[in-house]
Symmetry: C2
Subunit: 188 residues, 2 copies
């Protein structure tokens, strides 16, 4: 039997991403984001949504750029930290001992220590309720060498984090369930 829990921001999986920006003074900053996803194949684009009071909001508005550093499960406590404190009064890179790398393609920094990096140029901004959704065109994807298999990003090696809203838990990636566009063929 299904139980109605009302209109909540519930969906699974949601990501645990680190949105990288430069503030007005050029200080690199990170914000943990679960509200986002891919939204177009060509040009490849992804969204992240932020509320205006977030320190990263003005940074994205000003430079029309952000990166998404996709962390590995071993970085869970650091990712959570980035969602707890504000870049207004904390230097998160310094605190975590992480290296801010300036993207050569967009005006934003990424985390050298994260296994998967997506560099985005803002091409649309849409107000949706209390959030502002930034649609970023993906200018490049960078993968740590150990996270590649046959030249492609290997999720099992990258070990991304998954966020579960409502129960507010982070999870790791489980076992492969099979290949897409393949395991369903037998049902045709």
């Amino acid at each position: 039997m299904k139980i109605s829990i009302g209109p909540k921001t519930m969906a699974l999986p949601t990501p645990a991403w680190l949105v990288g920006t430069y503030d007005a003074a050029g200080k690199p900053n990170l914000m943990t984001a679960a509200w986002g996803g891919v939204c177009s194949s060509n040009p490849p684009c992804l969204t992240v949504s932020l509320q205006k009071p977030r320190y990263s909001y003005a940074a994205i508005m000003e430079r029309k750029a952000y990166t998404v550093s996709i962390p590995s499960e071993s970085q869970a406590d650091k990712v959570d930290y980035c969602g707890i404190v504000s870049g207004r009064d904390h230097d998160k890179f310094a605190k975590l001992g992480w290296t801010a790398v300036k993207s050569e393609l967009v005006d934003a920094p990424y985390v050298a220590e994260c296994p998967l990096i997506v560099e985005c140029k803002v091409i649309h901004i849409l107000e949706v309720g209390v959030h502002t959704m930034f649609v970023g065109e993906i200018m490049d994807v960078k993968v740590e060498e150990a996270g590649l298999r046959d030249g492609k990003p290997d999720a099992a090696a990258i070990k991304p984090m998954i966020y579960a809203p409502e129960d507010r838990n982070y999870y790791g990636l489980g076992p492969s369930l099979g290949l897409a566009f393949s395991i369903g063929k037998g049902l045709k």
Copy 2:
């Protein structure tokens, strides 16, 4: 060392969702979608992006509604099937032996057999490259009783599927890594 793989639709995790719609004749249909995510907390909203040639595209445009049935890992082959064939010439519910339940809140059906349901009314439509992004206001979330813990959706019980673009693999959910807004506190 980071390897650049170019501008690709790569992000982790992405979802494996079943978008439910009625076609012009009122036949329920499902489409597998990985391009989507939460985009606002209030009102709660999530996006799904579709290409215009998809059979579900006209259905959403006409009724300004869709559901997201979030499947469990045991349904992976059925989810994949829904991404392989078109509702134009297949009755996917009938083929899979699934039950189409008419939402009482939006003009779209959902899958009774899926553990987590999100019912959406379209409030924004944005063209992004080859995709059309539908922003849906979440009117209700329904959870199978066994997927609740203390009245909240329990991801570990729901066992959602995760899709990995590029290597085109489906994955299950892994172990909990800890509570959000908690495990990072020690780093403050």
